[in-house]
């Protein structure tokens, strides 16, 4: 018997990777750190997005709405409330909005949900703009803090660890089990006693809360927060592309898509600044058309095929794993 179980090794590897990532600002505080902040930001956004969209198969375009709400929470409170508390409030606000949206829309079929969430980001942006023009002096907000890029980076890493831990705990909870049953057959789920609507809303709230917290953490980086930047719908699309590119059926799947895409995107937007939207559009179609189950899905199919060739008899068991 080996001294360590498979799980212990995996926990150790994850901790080591996290420690290594956390050491990055010691090596570079310029370009690479800034790129790493982008990677960390999308890693958390995509993993949080997939917490909900992976098991439910609902494509949410509400990321920009939660992200913007988080950023605005900080913008409004930074002069009076401690930053840590603002992050928590951002999570709470996003969770509440997610609950309202979820209760209103999750009974609808998938297509309506996509449209509604896209509209939500725009609606939230309009409401915020309207409130600001009518009740305050400007359209934007200044966020001055003494937080440096590396602090933002570390906070994102910590939030990322929290998202992974939550995903791991959910998978082992009744909620996670309910979601797997719903993903298989919603009618059966209801008939064994699962409140499918409440389960989905809960998951949407958890996912939305994390996304809102990312927006809060990123607010000091913007310095000046205004609606078009905070509620930028491109964020919603990029998150969908990267999460699907990696694969939304595994907790670590989105990360596999985030790293190459963020680096590629950074390169394209540096070299061809006018063609970023084109690239996002093309990537969107390619991913959905060619690898709907993501890189992780492709890898698992390959592994399955190789495994089958090695042991031709173990067909059924392999599929279950």
């Amino acid at each position: 018997m080996s001294a360590f179980s498979g799980r212990e090794i995996r926990v150790f590897l994850a901790a080591a990777a996290l420690a290594l990532a956390a050491a990055l600002p010691l090596a570079d505080q310029g370009y690479y750190l800034s790129l790493a902040v982008n990677v960390a930001m999308y890693a958390v956004l995509c993993t949080a997005w997939a917490l909900f969209s992976g098991p439910t198969h609902y494509i949410s375009l509400a990321t920009a709405a939660f992200f913007g709400l988080g950023a605005y929470t900080v913008g409004l409170g930074i002069d009076t409330v401690p930053f840590a508390a603002l992050i928590a409030i951002a999570g709470l606000v996003s969770a509440i909005v997610a609950a309202l949206v979820g209760l209103a829309t999750l009974r609808l079929s998938g297509v309506y949900f996509v449209i509604f969430t896209l509209g939500l980001a725009e609606l939230t942006r309009q409401v915020v703009t309207w409130l600001q023009t009518n009740f305050t002096t400007g359209v934007g907000l200044y966020v001055f803090t003494d937080l440096a890029e590396r602090h933002i980076y570390w906070m994102l890493l910590a939030l990322g660890a929290a998202v992974y831990l939550s995903g791991w705990l959910i998978a082992r909870s009744r909620l996670g089990f309910a979601m797997r049953i719903i993903g298989n057959d919603e009618t059966v789920a209801a008939h064994v006693g699962i409140d499918t609507a409440v389960s989905k809303v809960l998951l949407f709230m958890i996912s939305g809360a994390f996304i809102g917290m990312v927006g809060a953490i990123l607010a000091p980086r913007f310095a000046y927060i205004e609606p078009p930047a905070a509620f930028n719908p491109m964020i919603s699309f990029q998150v969908v592309i990267m999460a699907l590119l990696g694969g939304s059926q595994r907790l670590w799947g989105p990360l596999v898509g985030v790293i190459p895409f963020t680096i590629l995107f950074d390169f394209v937007s540096g070299q061809f600044p006018n063609h970023t939207n084109l690239m996002i559009g093309a990537a969107f179609m390619l991913v959905v058309y060619f690898i709907p189950n993501g890189i992780v899905g492709v890898m698992e199919r390959l592994r399955l095929r190789l495994g089958l060739r090695k042991t031709p008899s173990a067909s059924g068991q392999e599929k279950a794993a």
Binding site: R174, F177, A178, R180, I181, G183, N184, D185, T187, V188, A189, A190, H191, V192, G193, I194, D195, T196, G316, Q317, K319, A320
Partner: protein, 244 residues
């Protein structure tokens, strides 16, 4: 004072557009009774079960479980109140193992369990329906009868007050049919209340205390099995096919 019926259906009606799939049907099921629900194809049997399980809401009328009105409640509330079912076209959860399929009923059903206790219950039930030791098998690799057994185990896992079986014996070969009938007879012997939709008349004769006959959405007869099956109107409904 008479015993409170386990299920009472009062003037239940379900309209699909202009079609009356269930037309003002009323009947009762006593606790511990095995009631057969029979009728020609398209007579509304599955729709009746759907009304009881909450898959569909009645257009009018009401259904009560042990005196509590359940019609109008969503399916998951009805399941928790104690009604479990199988489906005419077997519905397994393909990406879950056999044991997890049964666990689904144990974790969320009428009598809820979690953790090791629920897993033990699921394994016991698998053995009970004849799938002992197959807990790790993916249900998609199972034969049709085994999938039906699995579905029955899932329905039983929440220890329901009433069990609804929709043609659970259909599609089985003669020897499987015998096993299936024995299994239902055991459930009956342990005092479960069951409503069984069935086309296999041998099973109805050997298992049911009473039966209800539907034809074109309406209840046309109910009572002891021999009496009902020799009722001229029932004979006409079966022989005459769809004419009305």
């Amino acid at each position: 004072m008479s015993v409170q019926p386990a299920i009472s259906v009062t003037q239940a009606r379900k309209a699909f557009g202009g079609l009356l799939a269930v037309n003002d049907v009323s009947f009762e099921v006593a606790p511990g009774e095995l009631l057969g629900l029979i009728g020609p194809n398209g007579s509304g049997k599955t729709t009746m079960l759907n009304l009881i399980s909450g898959a569909l809401k009645p257009t009018s009328g009401s259904i009560a479980l042990g005196g509590q009105t359940i019609s109008g409640l969503p399916a998951h509330r009805i399941a928790r109140a104690g009604i479990a079912r199988t489906f005419q076209l077997v519905r397994i959860l393909p990406s879950l193992s056999a044991e997890e399929n049964v666990l689904a009923g144990a974790v969320f059903g009428h009598m809820r369990q979690w953790g090791g206790e629920a897993r033990r219950a699921a394994r016991d039930l698998l053995a009970r329906v004849g799938l002992g030791g197959l807990g790790a098998t993916p249900p998609s690799a199972m034969t049709y009868i085994d999938q039906k057994r699995l579905e029955l185990a899932r329905a039983l896992a929440g220890n329901p007050r009433v069990l609804l079986l929709d043609e659970w014996l259909a599609g089985l070969n003669p020897s499987e049919l015998k096993t299936g009938i024995n299994l239902i007879a055991e459930l009956r012997a342990e005092g479960r209340t069951i409503i069984m939709v069935e086309h296999v008349m041998d099973a109805i004769r050997s298992l049911c205390d009473r039966c209800v006959v539907m034809s074109s959405g309406a209840l046309i007869a109910q009572g002891r099995v021999e009496d009902v099956l020799s009722d001229p109107e029932v004979v006409r409904a079966y022989l005459g096919g769809g004419d009305a």
